[in-house]
Amino acid sequence: MLQGKSRWKTVAVGAAVAVVAVLGWLVYRHGRDAAMLRLAPDSLPENASLYAFAVSGGKGVFARNCAGCHGADMKGDRKTGVPDLTDVDWQFGEGRVAEIEQIALYGIRAADHRTKNQADMPAFGREQPYARYSIPTLTPQEMDDIATYIGVTQGREAEPEALKRGIALFDTKGQCFDCHGNDMGGDTFIGAPNLADKVWVNGDGSKKAIIDIIAQGRVGVSPMFKNTLSPAQIRAVAAYIHSKAIPPPPAA
């Protein structure tokens, strides 16, 4: 058994080794964070080692800050309009690390001039459909006709006259084309969803659900994390989300 003095010596050496190890780990970690941050965000996936480092760090950040809405499986919730982050159908941008990072930093419709906040889905069944400027309300028949037109892209049959009216309304009074495009392809710059791809952020794509969206509008939001997460955490979570959006395998 070690004598008193020797024992304290051993403890002191052990503590010193532990302190050095912890310091070493912190320095290593700081160095990796710095290297990750110095890259342009979209260059990160090209650096396998740093990308893996970022993805592993981002997992915990996501669990603590994003999973509450998007779910631990990142599948979102169509009842509340929270998008699926794994389906490569991006509402804003194309799913690049730089784009995801900007959303993590400044959010969607959050309180920063760099936030995503160019347009909202009006509530055509309310007295004042749009807060940004004046647009006309739609009658129930008109909303029904537009939903009929959109339903065709989902493979539903449509009565020809209703379809004709729906197409006209989509391009005129409803002003739907302005955000969703004449081809219903959407606009990922302003976050207008693609209406023709059978991927729904809100609801199940049924006629009732579409009419509800037209009548009540939608204003999706996401918090900004600029002031609550470090730059390294934000870069890491962006990389993690990027890594989970796996494109489907090419058709055989």
């Binding site: 964070d33 710095a34 290297a35 941050l37 110095r38 342009a40 965000p41 979209d42 260059s43 509450g68 809405c69 009842k79 509340t80 309009g81 929270v82 730089a98 990072e101 900007q102 930093l105 959010g107 419709r109 959050a110 309180a111 760099r114 069944g125 309310r126 007295e127 309300t137 009658t139 129930p140 028949q141 809100n202 509800d212 009548a215 009540q216 509008g217 939608r218 204003v219 939001v221 996401s222 918090p223 900004m224 730059p231 390294a232 934000i234 870069r235």
Partner: protein
Amino acid sequence: MAKSPSSTPAKPAGTPPAKTVKDLFAWSEHPHRTLIIGAIGAIVGLGMAGFGLFTAEGTRVRSVPPEAVAVVNGRPVLISDFVAQVEAEMGVKYSEANAAQRKMVLEEMISEELFVQRGLEIDEPSVDPDVRSALVSAVQTQVAVDAITKSPTDDELRTFYEAHKASYSSMGLMTVKDLVAPRGTDPTTAMNNARAAAAALRAGQAVEAVGARYNMKDSGKVMGEELYFAAQIHLGDALFAQAVKLKPGEVSDPVLQADGPHVLVTVTNTTPQARTFEDARIAVMTDFKQALQNQMQVNEDKFLRVRADILIAKAFQ
């Protein structure tokens, strides 16, 4: 070798020892040492303060943090923002932007940051109404940001729904025909015609035939099926109040308006039905957030007033 005591001449008694040159420069011996140190300290301090105050060099950050592309007076310009700005301004992906484009954008961002900082220095919000208005709006949004981005729980939404259940109903819909006497018709004749028209309509005669017979025409205020709120806007409060009470097929008594007596015939009238929580969930969430935002803004206003020193002249209290 020890010196012989006789080698040093003897000093007369009472004479202070002569100071050598070395003694004069010996700091510990300097009679004004405290004063000099104090003066040097004051000069250096004032110099540093002035340098920092007038050039911002005194607070300079000596290195650029890894997440930044530049630091402007201590405020970093993030690489992420720089990349986004290059892409937005140049319309190309960052990797495709050339060095000149990147340089140009960076210089613009630095200039913008400098102007923003200068704007704050010269208290621009007090001078420019647009800046002032934008600042108010920004603070209001900032205050409400937690409400905007909050994801309320099901329990919170249900509680809100129960407290405001009357607000959640299906859309009230009506199709109504509105007949009115043409402008210029003698008021008494117009009212008699309206009464006769109402009676004929109640007897089951067709609207068009009754209109032709009693010189009444469609007012054109409503067209087809309308939501209640739209019908109310189009008809006006008085006519809508009559219309909403009518069942399909019922006819109103003449309602005198500024443009003459009106007679309403209701074709359909679907009164609003209470919606279940599940059915109204999205509307409940929208209203919940709005209510929360309003509450937060009111609270912020109260908080600012409590901590502020506001004096109002007696005459204006």
